[in-house]
């Protein structure tokens, strides 16, 4: 796949210029789980990626499942029937998820991958190949995505090359909430409302402290002032609505009173329930 010719090798880049992939963390979880559960003789896990292609060309990878395969030095065999069965089952639940590519664990791209990529490109026009390095060979876990790019010499197709595309790891709000519990190996109990509130407020406080320190540093000349940051800060401070103190107090007090009213109502309801239950249960049939 190297250029050994004097003529210029053309990369057809028009499709990959703005191509990027968004990966949901569920996919990473799935892949790791399958890797941990792989049969003993397999070195890596191969599977299908499901998702959709957004209107601006980015590939949104939302789900995945593993496909059993056998691999030896020369050839790779994929269980195609299993792959189709799982696809049908998944589409029964969510018909909008289609195949967008495939994944394999391990760093880099091997020779066998080209064959598998070929197979997947028969199912989908431009499949994305995701590699997840579960071996942490670079000292960190790398996730890379590739698409196949055709190398053409003049008019002739020479070969296809795996070209890397940028990845965006994206998390939905609900998942962001649980992110802390997803990070550690075990959590003893799910955080309740108030505890979560506390954590969020602490984070906000930390951010404000950072900004404070930065402003101090700039004022004392320790750090050169960056105008764009300064503008951001002034925008943020200006975002606080300008209300006169009595008007603001009235607003806050009104909301407070509303909440108190609701609390009172719910306590009354609960008392009523307790009372009703005692009356019902204690009623004697003479």
């Amino acid at each position: 796949m190297e250029a050994g010719d004097r003529t210029v090798l053309q990369f057809s880049t028009q499709s990959t210029a703005n191509l990027s992939a968004k990966v949901h963390p569920l996919v990473v979880f799935n892949i790791c789980d399958c890797y941990v559960r792989r049969p003993d003789q397999a070195e890596r896990v191969i599977g299908t990626l499901l998702g959709s292609v957004l209107s601006d060309g980015t590939v949104d990878i939302r789900n995945s499942y593993a496909v059993p395969h056998t691999e030896s030095a020369e050839q790779v065999a994929l269980d195609i029937e299993y792959h189709h069965n799982m696809l049908v089952s998944h589409q029964k639940v969510n018909p909008k998820e289609v195949i967008v590519g495939w994944y394999s664990t391990g760093l880099g791209v091997t020779g066998g991958s080209a064959l598998i990529h070929d197979f997947y490109s028969r199912e989908v026009p431009n499949p994305v190949h995701l590699t997840v390095d579960t071996g942490f060979r670079n000292g960190e876990g790398t996730i890379k995505a590739y698409v196949s790019v055709n190398l053409a010499l003049g008019d002739r197709q020479l070969a296809a090359q795996f070209q890397e595309i940028p990845i965006d790891l994206r998390m939905v709000e609900a998942e962001r909430l649980g992110f802390d519990i997803l990070k550690t190996t075990s959590v003893d109990k799910l955080p309740s409302d108030l505890e979560g509130m506390e954590v969020t407020m602490q984070r906000l406080l930390a951010l404000i402290d950072d900004i404070y320190k930065y402003v101090d540093d700039v004022v004392e000349g320790r750090v050169t002032a960056d105008n764009s940051i300064g503008r951001f800060i002034s925008d943020t401070v200006a975002a606080l609505p300008k209300l006169s103190p009595p008007a603001f107090d009235k607003l806050v007090n009104d909301s407070l009173q509303d909440q108190l009213l609701l609390l009172y109502l719910s306590s009354i309801t609960r008392t009523q329930l307790g009372l009703a239950e005692k009356l019902n249960a204690a009623a004697q049939i003479l």
Binding site: G141, S186, T200, A276
Partner: protein, 338 residues
């Protein structure tokens, strides 16, 4: 509410004195939580269900994987399809070494309105085949408020016995000392992740520090949510008052019937006196064919229990959200002062 919650834990302990160690904790993998969140969120506002797979180990129920169920359009022809889908999924998952053991199911709910008779029936169905099963309830509408609303529920054993006997009369309930808090038991959830995943997540987190903060929790407008909660609460109160009226009607008719029985008995006795005086056979004091002796069936209390549970749930939610709102309001106040 503190008194009744301690009472509940006593009952929990007392009711689960069986040979098998009682279920103390449900251990879920992060993968399962993500899958449940994704499935419920994608198809909300429709309510969705799915199956939980895992292992039952001692006093811990481990949930290691799950798969969603497709939404059923009409029940008649899709029955067989549904069963086929399940078998197919289980078979495929078995091939990739996933635990093939069903340990329960999950479902999504809106604002916590999940206590229905169908839930109980599903529980009973599952319980016949599996020794220990659990139901996980996820509330996507509450997650928009910034709370991970995940709960693991199980039917309490005493309630299950009563349900099998299908008798919810006042007598039986007083015998067992069962009240509406005892229908469902909530089991604490523990989350576990494999080391590989936690390594990856810690790795990936450093890439996006600031943007990953969960500022949705700090949103000031919780009014629409509270309004919907109150609406549901009011509807439930209406239902509850209907149930109460049914009871009152029952009691009134019962007492009326008893009064009728008394008068009839008096008349009979008077007749018998007259007959004895005349030397004839006394008539029997009971007459089973007389309609006033027919026992009136006591209405089942199951519905009212469920409704009461529902209302309690809404009240708890309101309390939680109100507490959060207080925090937010005070935060705003201090921000403004500075």
């Amino acid at each position: 509410m503190a008194a009744s919650s301690t009472a509940r834990s006593f009952l929990q302990v007392a009711a689960t004195e069986e040979v098998v160690s009682p279920l103390r904790v449900v251990q879920i993998e992060g993968l399962v939580i993500l899958k449940i969140i994704k499935h419920c969120k994608e198809l909300s506002p429709a309510l969705v269900t799915g199956q939980l797979l895992g292992l039952d180990v001692g006093s811990v129920l481990e949930v290691t994987n799950c798969f969603p169920f497709p939404i059923r359009e009409e029940d008649e022809e899709i029955e067989a399809d549904g069963a086929n889908y399940q078998l197919e999924m289980m078979r495929c998952l078995r091939e990739v070494n996933v635990d093939n053991n069903t340990v329960g199911w999950y479902q999504s709910t809106i604002l916590g309105s999940y206590q229905t008779v169908e839930l109980i029936e599903t529980f009973m169905n599952y319980q016949e085949n599996i020794r220990r099963c659990v139901c996980i309830i996820y509330d996507p509408s509450r997650s928009n408020q910034g709370v991970l609303a995940l709960k693991a529920l199980k039917l309490s054993d005493s309630f299950m016995e009563l349900y099998r006997a299908n008798s919810f009369t006042g007598e039986k309930l007083r015998e067992k000392n069962l009240s509406w808090v005892d229908i469902f038991e909530e089991i604490p959830i523990k989350v576990s992740n494999s080391a590989l995943i936690s390594a990856f997540m810690t790795e990936l987190e450093s890439d996006t520090p600031v943007t990953q903060c969960d500022y949705d929790r700090l949103q000031l407008s919780s009014n629409p949510y509270m309004e919907r909660n109150m609406e549901f609460l009011i509807e439930c109160m209406d239902d509850l008052s209907m149930e109460q009226q049914k009871f009152q009607f029952y009691y009134r008719s019962l007492s009326r019937q008893q009064a009728q029985q008394q008068t009839w008995l008096q008349k009979r006795r008077a007749e018998n006196m007259a007959r004895k005086a005349a030397g004839e056979e006394p008539l029997p004091e009971e007459d089973p064919t007389n309609p006033i002796f027919k026992p009136i069936p006591e209405p089942s209390r199951l519905e009212s229990f469920l409704i009461t549970n529902q209302i309690a749930n809404y009240c708890n939610q309101i309390n939680g959200v109100a507490g959060q709102s207080f925090n937010r309001l005070y935060l705003m106040k201090s921000l403004h002062d500075n």
